[in-house]
Amino acid sequence: MTDAQAGGSVRSAGRFGLWLGQNWALLFLLLEVVLFSVLGTRFLSLENLQNIFVACTVVLLLGMGETFVIITGGIDLSVGFVMGFGAVTCAKFMVLLQAAGLPQGASIPLAAVICLLIGLIPGLVNGTLVARLKVPPFLATFGMYGIAYGISEIISKNTPISGLPSAAGVIGNEYLLYIVPRKMVTFLIRPQNITRLEMRSMLAIIPIIVVIAFIFVGIFSFVLRRTRFGRHTYAIGGNVDAALRSGINVTSHLTRIYMISSFFASLSGVLYVLKYVTGRADAGSARMLDAVVAVVIGGASLYGGTGAVKGTIIGALIIATLETGMVNLSIPYHNRYIVIGGILVIAVLIDQFFPELVGRR
């Protein structure tokens, strides 16, 4: 073998390693899917795969907000309870508007819009605290975490809100397309007047809730990757002083970042109400950590400067696939934590062999 050839194979091995290091999350996701489909039962069925997407929406949306915040080197601990606040507010307004006589077609979207607008307030507060008053993000959002929880419980009077218009549940649980084999195809509305047998063989395609979520994910992904706003976000995360010197209005930019985060949390709350037809104050509390994990798995560093929406999506899918797979394999509750913990640890080991190439500190 000539030197050139030897050098060539070494180089391509290095490039392969580079590719591996940069895309380990995606590979890990594929590995999970392969593993579960081999070991499990009907894992690759249409229904199951779609369930994974529906299951990942909460972590995905919360993670979207966190992505922006973490890129700037901060963290937002309040997203879980801002989501609860959003759910409670949205549910409450739906009930109020319906009682005021508005038809369902109006009350539901109106309540959602009101909730999203109100949902910007926690972000505004967080952003002001962090950007103008220089409060460490951990403490500012930790304070907001408590405040949002308290307000939500008080609004909901310590009981999950009920009595919502039923159409809300329809949007949250239905699909875009229904196919009854050899019989009919319908959009948005479940086929009526079919026999039990036909009902069992019916195919439901693309949950509406996933569509709504991914529309917003797409919009903000574009913002992060292709607009000046996005570039400024990375700049602040990379080096605040340099960003200041290059003329970026860091204070107002940071405030907007935190508002984006609480927007996504409220959006997640609205989708929660649409799916579960109820509003609860602790709707998002146990998913908060998962959101940050998704962002970090997706490539961000908690010190700021790196991260991407694509990574967060993969991170959210990894978590959802893992959880669904565990249920599919009927792994008992206790062992599940051991397995997840172990997998997380092993998974990151792969990445750690190429830190310089991935561009991480």
Binding site: S12, R15, F16, W19, L27, L30, V33, V34, S37, V38, G40, T41, R42, F43, L44, S45, E47, N48, N51, V54, A55, V58, E153, N158, T159, P160, S162, L164, G169, N173, R196, M199, R200, Y272, K275, Y276, V277, T278, R280, A281, D282, A283, G284, S285, A286, R287, A320, E323, T324, M326, V327, N328, S330, I331, P332, Y333, R336
Partner: protein, 327 residues
């Protein structure tokens, strides 16, 4: 580039092969029951134990879905749907974590031809005998938490002479079972105008928190006469705070659930009475009726209430009572 492409191709192919080359897994022909609990706690484990006992007796299989790490439809529904997508069971025993949110997912399961029984909690208002959009489950088997809370309230009120200050320490406002107990207790208290409820605290299932909250309330209200701990952790924390403050006897402690520690505390006079549900029996009955329905097409009563058992300092050592202890 070629290498990348090649690798991706291999992976996609293996996924495809894995998915489609395997023939549909044939489940064993024996009947399989699935149990979807509400949350990971001793009460839910006891339901599983009861269900498993009956399943072993009848020779059927019991498949347990993952215990949700927290209470709420957002934790339970993904697990439920993953179980359903997996399939392989003939009957579902479920503890719905929301009276409204679970209607749609459970209806989807019903439409696939799988009958179900709801245990401990219910859909809608729990009355499946009247036709409604939530009357498709076969039955509701459970203790009425609200009624239980009411019973506890009345007993405690009698114990403290129908007047004075009382305090509730509970876990989570968003968990319907515990909230039911709280609401039942409050309803009972309304019947005694001379009793004042000084506060309701939420310890989120952390025993130390229950203890510190109760201690603070004892400190602020030296004339407190009664405390109600609405579940295992709340009661354990509450009575310990009373003991540490040296107020055993002066402050009456009512508790819910019959864990070994509470039974011991009863024996030592540190708890005054405790309401035990019958989770073992709930699980047992669910499998029993489910089996009868599947094999004989039996008519299942729409509501079965195994009731509860109240342990107090007199009957705590009764041999008949021992079966109600959670262990």
């Amino acid at each position: 580039m070629k290498k990348t492409f090649g690798l991706v191709l291999i992976l996609v192919l293996s996924v495809a092969i894995a998915g489609f080359a395997r023939p549909g897994v044939e489940e064993p022909q024996e009947l399989t029951f699935a149990y979807m609990s509400g949350i990971a706690d001793p009460f839910m484990f006891m339901i599983e134990k009861g269900a498993q006992a009956k399943a072993d007796e009848l020779g059927v299989k019991l498949m347990t879905a993952e215990y949700p790490k927290a209470w709420g439809p957002e934790y339970q529904v993904p697990i439920l749907e993953a179980m359903v997508a997996r399939g392989g069971f003939d009957f579902l025993i479920v503890v719905p974590t929301s009276t409204e949110a679970l209607i749609a997912p459970l209806k989807k399961i019903h439409d696939k031809g799988i009958p179900m029984i709801t245990t401990d909690t219910y859909l809608g208002d729990g009355d499946y005998s009247k036709a409604s959009n939530y009357s498709f489950p076969l039955a509701y088997i459970g203790t009425d938490n609200e009624l239980g809370g009411y019973e506890v309230g009345k007993r405690l009120a009698e114990m403290i002479g129908k007047e004075g200050k009382v305090y509730i320490n509970t876990t989570n406002p968003d968990v319907s079972s515990v909230s039911g107990r709280r609401d039942g207790f409050l309803r009972a208290m309304k019947e005694f105008p001379k009793i004042e409820v000084v506060g309701i605290d939420y310890n989120l299932d952390v025993q130390e928190k229950a203890q510190s909250q109760t201690a603070a309330v004892l400190q602020a209200n030296p004339d407190l006469k009664g405390v109600f701990g609405t579940n295992l952790f709340s009661a354990q924390g509450a009575y310990r705070a009373v003991v540490n403050a040296g107020l055993t006897g002066a402050v009456k402690v009512a508790s819910w659930d019959a864990g070994m520690d509470q039974i011991n505390a009863l024996k030592e006079g540190q708890i005054d009475f405790s309401l035990a549900q019958k989770p073992f029996e709930i699980g047992y009955l669910a499998v029993e009726w489910g089996y009868k329905y599947l094999t004989e097409g039996a008519e299942v009563p729409k509501k079965i209430v195994p009731g509860f058992f109240i342990f107090d300092q007199d009957n705590v050592d009764d041999p008949d009572a021992q079966q109600y202890i959670y262990q």
